[in-house]
């Protein structure tokens, strides 16, 4: 232990904290004048001083160093390569997890069902954006636009074309994918920052159009969306023409929870489907092409890959999934309005993808659950919850900079490569 050094270090940290926090926290505006709030600054500086001191003391001991080294390993270490034959524990557990998730809504109240539906919708969104950002490496800050297109696809589709939930589902996916292509074309030549700015603009344009084109979208007042139906059974007390209420058909009492359980189960199926899709895609040539393009566009093109189709397909695939998520969102609330599709949503989805570990499916699932459930659990903290949430994110990025789950690579390549096994002995001999 090196107390003197730790003390000095903590002292410097405290001075820095005073400089940074002093003006921000210490000066409180009061009308046109201001008051000084010294205790507030003192508390923060005190916390930082003590924290830094303890931290320094800890890492000056061997045990403390080992403890922090653990996290460093995650940072420096490369992607792990797993053995092909071994089915991971996770793979075995998936059917059970799905089953548990499927019976869960029958035991929890409506409140938690709706929150879980939202969490699952964000899993879908996270998986969609994961294709664009995580796999293809295209930073898209306007992803919420496709979500909005899906949601409004159901609402306006039913209003103007009379389509229901089940038609809207594929139609919104196609519509969102088309918009993905429209966005994709102009941004094909862009990279990094420029791409981010243009997609950000696109997201805002869609929201502003929805907000201001009142004649078509009803503007800020929003539009109502039809609920999901089971064949021609509606989950309402009294059904619309041509439909039967679900409870009458089964001769049970009306319970508004049924409707949410139904949507819950549908979203769960959609999530399972999206997980499966992602799992297959990464092993298919297109998935590999996305990855290759992310790593090195020039090499890809010289290898005969058409970067236009590869990028467009990533945009379109991601957008289609977001479109589907949007339909579920609209069907859940029975109502959509532009306020649900602000930039903060795009940021949240991106946070899910980054938090989960770029490219990792399991990470996205866990991150989406955390991102939606934590603010819900922390309702008591009311306005501070986003602060706490932000803090958690920062801490996360420090201790696990590669995301919750670092992606692993299958050891052996998918089907095609498998035949290419040459005896190792031969290799050694020649070397």
């Amino acid at each position: 232990m090196n107390i003197k050094h730790s003390f000095l270090d903590a002292f410097v940290a405290a001075i820095l904290a005073t400089i940074v926090f002093g003006p921000i926290m210490g000066i409180v505006l009061d009308g046109y004048s201001f008051n000084l709030d010294v205790p507030r600054v003192a508390i923060i500086v005190g916390i930082i001083f003590v924290g830094r001191f303890v931290f320094q003391l800890t890492i000056s001991t061997q045990g403390g160093r080992d403890f922090f080294q653990q996290f460093e390993k995650g940072r420096a270490g490369s992607i792990e390569v797993t053995d092909p034959g071994i089915k991971t524990v996770l793979a075995k557990a998936i059917p059970f997890i799905m089953l548990a998730a499927a019976i869960l809504p029958f035991f929890i109240g409506k409140y938690w069902i709706t929150i879980l539906i939202l969490a699952y919708i964000y899993i879908l969104l996270g998986l969609g954006l994961n294709i664009v950002v995580g796999l293809a490496g295209l930073l898209d800050l306007g992803f919420v636009a496709f979500y909005a297109i899906g949601a409004y696809g159901l609402a306006l589709g039913s209003e103007y074309l009379g389509i229901g939930f089940w038609i809207a589902l594929p139609m919104s996916a196609i519509l969102a994918a088309s918009f993905g292509a429209i966005l994709g074309f102009p941004v094909l030549r862009m990279h990094g920052d420029y791409l981010a700015i243009v997609t950000l603009g696109f997201g805002e344009i869609i929201r502003l159009v929805l907000n201001n084109w009142s004649a078509f979208t009803h503007g800020p007042n929003g539009a109502s969306a039809p609920p999901a139906t089971l064949f021609n059974l509606e989950f309402k007390r009294t059904a619309a023409e041509g439909y039967t209420p679900f409870h009458e058909f089964f001769n049970i009492d009306y319970n508004s929870t049924h409707r949410y359980i139904f949507i819950y189960l549908l979203v769960l199926i959609a999530v399972a489907f999206a997980l499966r899709l992602k799992h297959r895609l990464v092993k298919m040539p297109i998935g590999r092409a996305w990855e290759a393009l992310r790593e090195n566009e020039i090499a890809c093109r010289s290898l005969g890959m058409n970067h236009v189709t590869i990028k467009l397909s990533a945009f379109m695939m991601g957008a289609a999934i977001a479109g589907v998520a949007g339909v579920f969102f609209a069907a859940k609330d029975g109502f959509v309005n532009p306020a649900s599709f602000s930039f903060i949503e795009s940021a949240l989805i991106l946070a899910i993808v980054v938090l989960g570990g770029l490219g990792s499916t399991v990470g996205v699932v866990i991150a989406a659950l955390l991102v939606i459930l934590i603010p819900e659990v922390m309702r008591e903290f009311s306005e501070y919850r986003y602060l706490v949430f932000g803090l958690l994110m920062v801490i996360m990025m420090i201790i696990r900079p590669r995301g919750l789950i670092t992606i692993k690579r299958d050891r052996k390549f998918s089907t095609k490569g498998e035949g290419a096994v040459v005896e190792t002995k031969q290799g050694e001999g020649a070397a």
Partner: protein
């Protein structure tokens, strides 16, 4: 005339207002090893990249087996049988060795991928040992072998290499160059861009010297090795 696999005529390439290649003309015959040497910034990489249309030539012709490549999109050129080992290797760092090789099969499709991978593992046994290792964790020499292996996966008739010796120890350079000789012996034409003039000229049948975007000299490898100007500028005056 007909056995020229690559024929470049009066090629001019620009980066914005800057002219990087001036009236470059050269040719490579089927089965040859031809090298292009020159100092930093001479335009060697620009020439190789121009063959792949990136940057696109402003004027002139690039005839590959009689087809003019100048207006063909980059991603279609590999399908014609030209492969490139780019400067700085540019392997897909996050992918394993085997995945990198598979990516190399893109121009011809996956139907021969298995046997070709086997062939490349025989050719570079080191890659077999490392087949499940991520490319980024490999040494420079191994990455160079991988980049060459990846290019060979497309079964090219013409292999373009940009400074394969870059940053490698002399012994590894020697190994790589021996492999290039083997590749040529198996019938693939090799066009090699190098700064390492000594090695390159010893290996090559013929060579070109580029200065400031223009071809300054040409001759057989031995002729250039003996040339005073070449010795002065590229071989350290020995």
């Amino acid at each position: 005339m007909s056995d020229k696999i690559l024929e470049i005529k009066n090629l001019n390439t620009f980066y914005g207002p800057i002219q990087a290649l001036r009236d470059v003309s050269l040719d490579v015959e089927q089965g040859e090893i031809v090298t292009l040497i020159g100092a930093n910034g001479a335009g060697k990489s620009t020439l190789l990249m121009s063959i792949f249309g990136n940057p696109r030539a402003a004027s002139g012709e690039i005839l590959y087996k009689g087809t003019n490549l100048v207006n063909i999109p980059t991603h279609k050129i590999a399908k014609l049988g030209v492969a490139q080992v780019p400067e700085g290797r540019r392997v897909f760092s996050g992918m394993t060795v085997e995945e990198n090789l598979l990516m190399g099969a893109t121009p011809i499709g996956m139907s021969h991928a298995d046997e070709d991978i086997k062939r490349i593992y025989e050719f570079f046994p080191r890659l077999l040992e490392r087949r499940n290792q991520r490319a980024v964790t490999m040494s420079g020499g191994e990455q160079q072998m991988l980049a060459i292996g990846r290019a060979l996966m497309g079964r090219p008739e013409l292999l373009l290499l940009d400074e394969p010796s870059l940053g490698l120890a002399p012994i590894i350079v020697k190994q790589i160059f021996t492999k290039l000789k083997d590749i040529a012996a198996e019938g693939t034409t090799v066009f090699l861009v190098e700064q390492n003039a000594n090695h390159a000229l010893k290996l090559a049948d013929r060579g070109y010297v580029m200065v400031n975007g223009q071809i300054r000299l040409t001759g057989t490898g031995d002729e250039l090795l003996a040339n005073d100007e070449v010795r002065e500028a590229y071989l350290g005056g020995h």
